[in-house]
């Protein structure tokens, strides 16, 4: 029977008490920690890139007649920050906040509401107004093209090609 087990007392003495008295003390969080995200409603254009990248579908795009709503549900978020990576306008910022418990269910949802552009030709809603502006800034594009919905654009394109090739288009009639 060696005396080595008693050395534990020495080890414990050297290390002291390591308990962090959280929540009565600040938690030990490094600078790299990933907490919840914050979406800047002014910058967000409603493109849905974050929705496509989000693994657990915490970010969802809800579309109705007049609006497109980007909904962030903290309950499903896995704090991977893929949305932060892929947002084209850097509207999503990561924070170090992890104390997210609440007793009001509505606190868990963040909603960013965007108005939708109405197609000049057929009247169905298309992309968001902000996205329209974003595309116009980035790409030289004709007014006729940007104010119509994708279905109408396709029809117009086919008509133009048909007119150029055979002189008329079935669709126009």
């Amino acid at each position: 029977m060696s005396i080595k087990p008693v050395k534990l007392v020495i080890i414990a003495g050297k290390k002291g008490r390591v308990t962090v008295k959280y929540p009565f003390q600040e938690p030990v969080v490094t600078s790299e920690f990933r907490g919840e995200i914050e979406i800047d409603p002014a910058k967000c254009i409603g493109c849905g890139a974050c929705v496509r990248a989000c693994p657990p579908n915490a970010l969802e795009l809800l579309e109705s007649e007049k609006e497109t709503i980007l909904r962030y549900f903290v309950g499903r978020c896995i704090f991977c920050w893929r949305c932060v990576d892929v947002c084209p306008v850097s509207a999503i910022k990561g924070t170090k906040n992890f104390e997210l418990a609440t007793d009001k269910f509505t606190d868990l949802y963040t909603l960013i509401v965007h108005t939708r552009v109405i197609c000049e030709l057929c009247g169905t809603p298309a992309e968001t107004v902000k996205m329209q502006r974003y595309i116009t800034e980035k790409v030289p594009i004709s007014e006729e093209y940007i104010t119509t919905c994708p279905t109408c654009r396709k029809k117009q394109f086919v008509e133009k090609v048909a007119t150029r090739m055979v002189g008329f288009s079935e669709l126009k009639k």
Binding site: S2, V18, T30, F33, R52
Partner: protein, 541 residues
């Protein structure tokens, strides 16, 4: 690097059995008719001494109207993956079972039978993954079953055994002190365990089906990370490496180094956790507390390097999302130095406690022949004298740039398994220091790439528990088939050998000594045909 001369014997084997062979990088693909499957498997496993890893059933009816079955072996000495594939009829898929020559293939064949619907001849069949009351013609991994389909079910109660000859001790799955859902039925005669029955797969989450249907390539990294709590990064790295191998992507070296470093950090964390749990099971709570105090520092280091204490979330196909700058490197080296001193003194003290030594020595012995037959993985294999480590045999990521020793013990008892893990922790610390030193400059993420359809990638990554294998067949936007086999899947059948004739008091520490990760496994095993013949099954409710 794989040894190119070793391939000749596979070419000969394929020709002799009217098969087609195709060598892609370090993977040998052999396609044989199903009548020759057993002979080929026998040659590969018994003559060429390859390790058996897993088999996967694939529903290829949308592509070519057939089912297929792939058996995955690895030639550890030569550094090759050997995939033996056979095609089965699309209406009534029947395959010969290789269990008679490869005993380790027991579970995965039954899983293919349950989930894909492939029938096996020449063996005893039973329901493994799915519950007994699941409709028998519904095979979830078939392509015509939608991922969110809910069948009409008539749920029956689970049954536990009852015997008049032996005492039956049910262990789990709703037991208040068990950490994970597992169910062992121990048949005891007095204090001696006579036989063991295991049923798991209580939390089968349908991850493979999810990945094929609802997710995209990059999203699956995060899903793979959550297959397991402790070895999550291993799964996500293995998946990323498998897809990169299939798509032949040139991942930047710096990313591979970072992956290896984080893998080793995870290994240290896992082994420290296991040591703590083992001490707790032996009643030495002081060791448990101190080892977990050391582990806390490792989790702080992981958070500094990756952004999260456990599910790191830095893997993407094409590289990693976080870099290691000079400041982080210095902090990491300092943390490792402290950990080395701390851990060394702790292990010295803890393994000298007479009760700990006495209870670990000579208990739960796994003889070498059984270990080879069952193809056990990781420290369980290395403690029984099998010199097998995927980091050295099938080098991946940046392991070829680090020199490390693989600890092998031959006693096969609980103490040997504990010592293998202790030695591996020290080796991991050394590997991290070496890799941090040699970190090359460059980008960490590949930005522009495409993943073509119809390619196959197989990858084994050495998790803290053994070799984890991912098999990916690429599709459009998401994998066509993704097969995961975690190392505990191979280790649990060995428990039956280890627990037999042991005192009941040693059952928990023996079960814990294979470092079971049941959430990784999420498979069911019914270990039967032991000495116990007449077991009456009685319903729980």
């Amino acid at each position: 690097m794989p040894n190119p001369e070793a391939v000749t014997k596979y070419i000969e084997l394929a020709e002799k059995n009217s098969g087609v062979i195709h060598i892609e990088g370090d993977t040998v693909h052999i396609m044989v008719p199903s009548s020759k499957l057993v002979d080929v498997a026998d040659a590969v496993f018994n003559k060429y001494n390859c390790s058996f890893r897993v088999c996967a059933g694939i529903d290829e009816r949308p592509i070519n109207g057939h089912f297929s079955l792939v058996h995955l072996f690895t030639d550890d000495k030569a550094g090759y993956y050997v995939a033996i594939k056979t095609y089965l009829s699309g209406d009534n898929p029947v395959a010969p079972s290789i269990v008679s020559v490869v005993p380790a293939a027991d579970w995965c064949e039954m899983e293919a039978r349950d989930l894909v619907g492939i029938e096996f001849t020449g063996r005893e069949v039973y329901k493994l993954v799915l519950p007994l009351w699941w409709p028998s013609n519904l095979h979830p991994l078939r392509k015509d079953v939608p991922y969110n389909y809910r069948p009409e079910l008539r749920i029956e109660s689970e049954k536990i055994g009852s015997s008049s000859e032996y005492g039956v001790i049910p262990l789990g799955p709703y037991h208040p002190t068990l950490h994970e859902p597992e169910y062992f039925e121990l048949y005891v005669e007095g204090e001696r365990i006579v036989d063991v029955k295991y049923r798991g797969f209580h939390v089968h989450r349908g991850i493979e089906k999810l990945a094929e249907s609802r997710m995209s390539y990059q999203q699956i990294n995060f899903l793979a990370e959550r297959i397991c709590g402790i070895c999550g990064f291993v799964h996500s790295t293995c998946y990323a490496l498998a897809v990169e191998k299939a798509a032949k992507l040139d991942v930047p070296e710096r990313a591979q180094f970072i992956r290896s470093i984080v893998l080793e950090v995870e290994r240290i964390h896992s082994h420290l956790l296991w040591l703590g749990v083992a001490f707790h099971l032996l009643g030495y709570d002081a060791g448990f507390m101190h080892v977990w105090r050391a582990r806390e520092r490792v989790m702080w280091l992981a958070e500094l390097l990756t952004g999260s204490r456990k599910t790191y979330g830095i893997n993407l196909i094409g590289g990693v999302r976080r870099d290691i700058n000079e400041d982080k490197k210095q902090k990491a080296l300092e943390a490792l130095r402290e950990l080395y001193k701390d851990f060394k003194s702790l292990v010295e003290v803890a393994l000298s406690v007479p009760q700990v030594k006495r209870r670990l020595t000579g208990t739960g012995v796994l003889p070498r022949e059984d270990a080879i037959k069952l193809s056990v993985e990781g420290p369980t294999a290395r403690a029984s004298g099998i010199n097998k480590d995927a980091r050295r045999d099938l080098p991946y990521a940046a392991y070829k740039y680090a020199s490390f020793r693989v600890p092998v013990y031959s006693e096969g008892d609980n103490l040997a398994r504990a010592l293998v893990r202790v030695d591996e922790t020290f080796e991991s610390m050394s590997i991290i220091e070496q890799l941090l030193d040699k970190l090359p400059s460059g980008p960490v993420l590949l930005s522009d790439f495409e993943i073509p359809e119809g390619r196959v990638g197989v990858q084994v990554v050495e998790a803290p528990r053994g070799g984890d294998i991912h098999y990916v067949v690429t599709g459009r936007g998401a994998p066509y088939r993704w097969r995961v086999r975690a190392p505990t899947y191979a280790n649990i059948p060995a428990l039956r050998v280890m627990l037999r004739d042991q005192p009941l008091a040693d059952a928990p520490i023996t079960i814990a000594s294979i470092d079971p990760c049941f959430s990784c496994t999420d498979r069911v095993v019914v270990v039967r045909d032991g000495k116990v013949e007449k077991i009456k099954l009685i319903p729980v409710v």
